[in-house]
Amino acid sequence: MDFETGILLATGAAGAMLTFFVNEKLKQGPVRSSAGLSLLVALFFHLFPHSLSPVLVKNIPLVFIGGSFIGMVSSRLLSSYIKIGLAGVIFCTIFLNTSRFFTGYGGALGTTASISLLAVLSLPVLNLRGRLTNGFEQLRKAVYTEDKRRVK
């Protein structure tokens, strides 16, 4: 793994964790957290295009906005910063190896983010009662609770 790949992997994890922090802790909502942070990163590299190597200047904003989509996850589904960071790393790995066929398709980053988040959600985790469960079961629970609340 070279230096630039390492930086991009760290960017993916940082994008996801920072967005989750701004979304959940600073209560700014998922859209503002993701869009606002991505806007700041993109503005920085737009104003200072020679601050880093061309590969990093081109890819850091894309990896950051993709990572930030992961950070938009609700804390009821995933609340561990480590797992969100891991999803960011998986996202970046897929992004760096994505087929050239999908270059330029809008929404490809979001789809990749969704795949990496689903992969992390499926990792078995121990819930509070010590029973083996996984993120998908949490997602189902969240959907059911939301539906019931709306029906009431």
Binding site: A35, F69, G107, S114, V143, D147
Partner: protein, 165 residues
Amino acid sequence: MIYRENRQVSLISGAVIVLSILLLTAHIKAPLHHEDHFYEHILVALWVPAGAAVTWYINNDLHLGPVLAAGAVGTFGSLLPEFNKRSDYLKHLPPAIYCGAFIGMSSLKVAHGFLFVFAASFFAGVLLVLSKSLFFGMGGKLGLIAFSGVVIASFFLFILSNYGF
């Protein structure tokens, strides 16, 4: 496609297989189904083409790049509920606008003009209305909807161009 282009790297092939097994196992173990289904209001979905067109203009006509365009449109969209905090309608707009912004991130190679953007937005809008209670609170849902819209529009364009339209 990813597998075919990276066949020489065994690590990537392994990662794709592991990811697929993880997704499949979890899907079989805990299928994502629910009894009730909710629909997003159609007036909310109308903001998808608006977000897409503005982002596409900033991205491809002003040449400011896709991330800057989507970030600016998304940030503006997220500020809309602040104008009237009591309005329930305004609270539903940021996700729709941000979903449209992802469509506008498409490059000129894929989205040739506003017509394509509006077609992709139409399909994404329909999916947004239908998928209100699916993947609730999951990151990447909006991007997935936008991508589906762009792919469906590209597919129709491909069919139409093959028949000489």
